[in-house]
């Protein structure tokens, strides 16, 4: 649905209102004037009708009184009495009287109502008709071609006698009565109409219209009626006007409709014109008014749209309308609010709250912008990490740690002459960008930064010497994108930290290592499913009987692209990402399956699987192992779990709990890499383990190094005292083997016997070893 504009709607409402007013006014005025005109016309017709009636009545009266006078005339009586002998004298006298009374026709009847003489021989008057004529009043008589207004009076020879001796009848032609004089008097067309015979007795209409009038069925009731004659509409009123042959005769007074309502219609037209002009003016006013409201609104709409696009508007439209100016103020306030909040958000988004330096987001954006704006310009990017910050935080307090960071930020401010862009990247890490416009080289700049930390930081009375590690990268030498550069800088920084330099340049060798590490992490789980991992088995020789009863399972990853990947490279990664659980489960499952295979083949071996510190705190591990033992129907002592010393020492309490559980299941437990992890004797004593594996660092040079000999001898003795077996790994020559045998070490493993072999090769090796072909 299309929304109509306010302006259009207002104009429409105004227009509708005006039209309504105009129509109502016109209707009322028109009705009132119409009613008035109608009343007037009705009154006019009534008056006119009485004028006509009066005229005819007067004529009749005059005729009657004339006739009465004549009837009493003695000479007429004489002539009437002598009419039998002398008709001519009577006719002559009657003609004389007729001229005197200005009538048109006469009839003289005798006492028996037989016509004696008449001016119209062809028209005789019936005897009884005379009684009608004798009544005073308007009486019509139909002649041959003409109608007459007639009166009759009796003649008595002796006036007081009851005897009627004759009748005098006189008639006036209707056409003579109804004429222009009456039209002039009344202003109307007058017709005398005999309803019964549908005959027009007389009319002021033209002959054509009279002919048509005969066919009109007239409304004889009072009121106004209409008919059309010869294409002209007439309004007429009807009144009785005497009688003809005992049936009523009507006067029909008509006036053309046009002239009757002419003044009325003219008034109506004038009224409509006035109202239309008023409506037009009001409409213009309405449009002007609505514009004055909607224009500032439209301006405000534009402003609101501009604001929504993030453009800020300084100029607001002025309006004298209260609502609009309120809205203007509101939008202005809204814009100010938005600006304030945007700044706040910007501050939060792009600045570090603690130090007030730009944050990592702004730092990365800054680098991106610099690269985009001046791709050819060199950038020197430094990432700086405070050494031992965690320690500092833990030792003094977080508050003071924060204070230290603020002070570092302040010191970075001393670099201003080199126009740096400094940011806190998070935690104790800072970033600095120098553009190449700086006169100094990258290493000079790095040295300047390092120099900032020469003086100790004084925090709440404590003087702290703070070192930091700095990674340095140069755009575009070390990378072309911000991500690349920062990654490189981090790598450089960490290598710096490891190597304890003040700062370190990035080189690609560092990167290669890291990139592969990252990709391996993501591929490890896929590798588990795709059987890229294998278990290799390294035999452990029991020195007391020179037999192999045990193997250590070592994991091997044959990567489709990278080839063999040593466990040193991916196991720590797996530990970091938590994938180690899956690796361990896989290794346990594979080892158990192999044990089952060997068991079925009649070879009795136990297999040692390395588990990490994370596995040790995985509470599901014992359950999983129990499930495996059940599934493969293995004795628990066939399975040996090797745990590094450091894994146990990291979280001794939980490790103890786990080890106790596993031991209670009958599983053999072994401490791996023993001797490297600063194990406390007290804890070692509590450990529910069966054996110690002496780290190969002590064994590799055992034959030559007397220190190592002392160390290993001591360790073995210690284990013996604790009733623990000992396994020496890294045995590479016979001398070492013999030394270990002398000091009663329980088992040995190493390249001297065999390197780790896959299942097939191991079986082959074992078969040969048993056959005595393997020389010890």
């Amino acid at each position: 649905m299309r929304r109509s504009s306010l302006q259009r709607r207002m104009a429409l409402i105004f227009l509708l209102l005006l039209i309504t007013i105009v129509i109502v006014t016109v209707v009322f005025v028109w009705r009132a004037t119409y009613q008035h005109s109608t009343d007037q016309l009705q009154g006019h017709i009534k008056t006119s009708a009485s004028v006509v009636t009066d005229k005819l009545t007067n004529t009749v009266s005059a005729m009657r009184s004339g006739l009465e006078t004549i009837a009493k005339d003695f000479s007429l009586k004489q002539l009437l009495a002598g009419a039998i002998d002398d008709q001519k004298s009577l006719v002559s006298a009657m003609e004389n009287f007729q001229a005197r009374l200005e009538t048109d026709e006469f009839w003289v009847l005798d006492g028996n109502r037989q016509t004696l003489v008449s001016s119209l021989d062809e028209v005789t008057i019936e005897g009884t008709a005379v009684d009608d004529f004798a009544q005073s009043g308007i009486v019509w008589f139909a002649g041959k071609d003409n109608y007459y207004l007639v009166q009759a009076v009796p003649v008595k020879f002796v006036e007081s006698s009851v005897q009627v001796n004759g009748w005098l009848v006189m008639g006036m032609a209707a056409s003579r009565l109804i004429g222009d004089e009456l039209v002039g008097l009344t202003g109307m067309q007058i017709s005398v109409f005999h309803a019964q015979s549908q005959q027009v007795i007389s009319s002021t209409f033209s002959a054509d219209k009279i002919a048509q009038l005969k066919n009109v069925s007239l409304h004889t009731e009072t009121g106004l009626h209409e008919f059309a004659l010869d294409g002209v509409d007439y309004i007429y009123g009807v009144n009785t006007l005497g009688a003809l042959q005992g049936t009523p005769v009507y006067s029909v007074l008509a006036t053309p409709t046009d002239s009757a309502y002419l003044s009325n219609q003219t008034l109506l037209i004038q009224l409509i014109i006035i109202l239309l002009v008023a409506a037009l003016l009001a409409l213009v006013a309405a449009i002007y008014m609505s514009r004055s409201i909607t224009r500032p609104l439209q301006d405000l709409i534009d402003i609101a749209k501009a604001i929504s696009k993030g453009q800020y508007v300084g100029q607001f439209p002025q309006s004298n309308t209260k609502e609009v100016s309120t809205l203007t103020v509101a939008i202005n306030d809204m814009q100010n609010g938005i600006i304030a909040r945007e700044q706040e958000i910007h501050q939060l988004a792009f600045y570090d709250e603690l130090t007030g330096l730009p944050n990592r987001l702004q730092f990365t954006q800054y680098i991106e912008q610099q690269i985009i704006q001046t791709p050819s310009q060199k950038l020197i990017i430094l990432t700086l990490d405070v050494d031992r910050f965690k320690e500092i935080n833990d030792t003094i307090s977080h508050e003071m740690g924060d204070e230290l960071l603020v002070m570092i930020a302040k010191r970075l401010g001393q670099l201003n002459e080199h126009q740096p862009f400094c940011a806190r990247l998070g935690g104790d890490e800072f970033g600095i960008v120098f553009s190449a416009s700086s006169l100094l080289s990258a290493s000079e700049l790095a040295a300047v930064v390092v120099a900032l930390f020469d003086l100790p930081f004084s925090i709440q009375g404590l003087n702290l010497d703070i070192d930091c590690s700095i990674g340095v990268v140069v755009y575009p030498d070390h990378g072309r994108s911000q991500q690349e550069l920062l990654q490189c800088a981090d790598i450089a920084m960490y290598s710096c930290k490891e190597q304890h330099y003040r700062f370190a340049y990035y080189n690609s060798a560092l990167n290669k290592h890291s990139v592969m590490r990252l990709s391996l992490m993501s591929e490890l789980r896929g590798a588990l499913q795709e059987n890229q991992l294998q278990l290799f088995y390294q035999p452990k020789l029991s020195l007391h009987d020179n037999q192999v009863h045990a193997v250590e399972c070592l994991i091997r990853w044959i990567h489709p692209q990278h080839g063999f990947i040593p466990p040193d490279e991916f196991i720590p990664l797996a530990e970091q990402t938590g994938t180690i659980r899956h690796v361990t489960h896989w290794a346990l499952n594979t080892a158990c399956a192999q044990l089952k295979t060997w068991q079925q083949a009649g070879t009795t071996l136990s297999a040692a699987v390395n588990i990490s510190a994370l596995d040790l705190v995985d509470m599901q591990l014992p359950t999983y192992i129990a499930t495996l033992l059940t599934q493969y129907q293995l004795d628990p002592e066939r399975l040996v779990l090797e745990v590094t010393e450091s894994a146990v020492m990291g979280d001794p309490q939980n490790a103890l709990k786990a080890l106790n559980t596993l031991r209670s299941m009958g599983i053999i437990l072994s401490i791996d890499d023993f001797g490297t992890g600063f194990s406390s004797m007290a804890q070692l004593k509590k450990m529910p383990v069966h054996e110690l594996k002496i780290d190969k660092a002590f064994v590799l040079e055992l034959a030559k190094s007397e220190d190592d000999q002392v160390m290993v001898k001591t360790l073995v003795a210690l284990a013996q005292n604790l009733s623990l077996d000992t396994v020496a790994e890294g045995v590479e020559d016979f001398a070492t083997l013999e030394f270990l045998r002398e000091i009663n070490c329980t088992k040995v493993q190493g390249f001297y016997l065999s390197k780790a072999l896959n299942a097939d090769n191991f079986n082959h090796w074992l078969a040969q070893f048993k056959a005595g072909k393997q020389v010890l």
């Binding site: 009437l80 020879f157 002796v158 006036e159 007081s160 006698s161 005897q163 001796n165």
Partner: protein
């Protein structure tokens, strides 16, 4: 004079020979007496008729008193001379257009007009051209046996025996002819009474009241 005497004697003789009294009574439809009505008997026997006709030379008076004719109704035998004196001090113009006697008399005060001979039977309606209200009737009858009823509607007539036609007339009576003119046989019917069955015509000018007692002029 001699001639007149002989006629009178002859009349007296005839009366004396066949004299008989006839009593006539006339009543209106409501039972009231009908006065001032002309009653006359005409003999059916032609001899008797001719005998009666021979008697002539009679006279009567139609006077005008106080702008009225007097009497209102006068009955005379044919060939009676009627005088029209004028007792008023003003001029009258008496006329009649009745077929029985058409005349016109300008009567001035003190002027003695010649009597008029009424020789045709019939009703003569008299009017005055000067005074429209004046009206009188002279009934001219072809018989000597006539009279008018008195206030009691009674009339006594001496009529010789014989067969007659008895006729009643009054301007206000509107009755069928056969009722108003009936046969009568004398002396068999010495009492003849007639009761009108139709009401009287309206009295146009109250002539009866005007003139008071009719009998005054008998």
């Amino acid at each position: 004079m001699l001639k007149a005497t002989s006629v009178l004697v002859g009349l007296l003789l005839s009366i004396s020979v066949v004299a008989g009294e006839l009593s006539v009574s006339l009543r209106q439809v409501d039972g009231q007496a009908m006065p001032n009505t002309v009653v006359y008997l005409t003999a059916k026997d032609p001899a008797t008729l001719s005998a009666t006709n021979t008697i002539s030379d009679k006279s009567a008076i139609m006077d005008q008193i106080d702008l009225q004719f007097s009497p209102h109704i006068l009955v005379v035998q044919t060939n009676t001379r009627v005088r029209f004196p004028n007792s008023d001090s003003i001029k009258h113009h008496v006329y009649s257009f009745s077929p029985a006697k058409t005349f016109e008399l300008q009567l001035y005060k003190g002027l003695q007009a010649n009597p008029l001979l009424f020789d045709k039977s019939g009703i003569v309606e008299l009017g005055c051209n000067v005074h429209d209200w004046m009206l009188a009737y002279i009934q001219v009858v072809d018989t000597p046996y006539f009279g008018k009823t008195d206030a009691a509607g009674q009339l006594q007539l001496s009529v010789p025996d014989g067969e007659y036609q008895i006729t009643f007339w009054h301007p206000r009576i509107s009755q069928e002819e056969k009722q108003l003119s009936q046969s009568i046989s004398l002396p068999a019917q010495q009492h003849f009474s007639l009761n009108l069955t139709n009401p009287l015509l309206p009295d146009l000018s109250q002539y009866e009241q005007h003139q008071g007692d009719f009998s005054e002029y008998e």
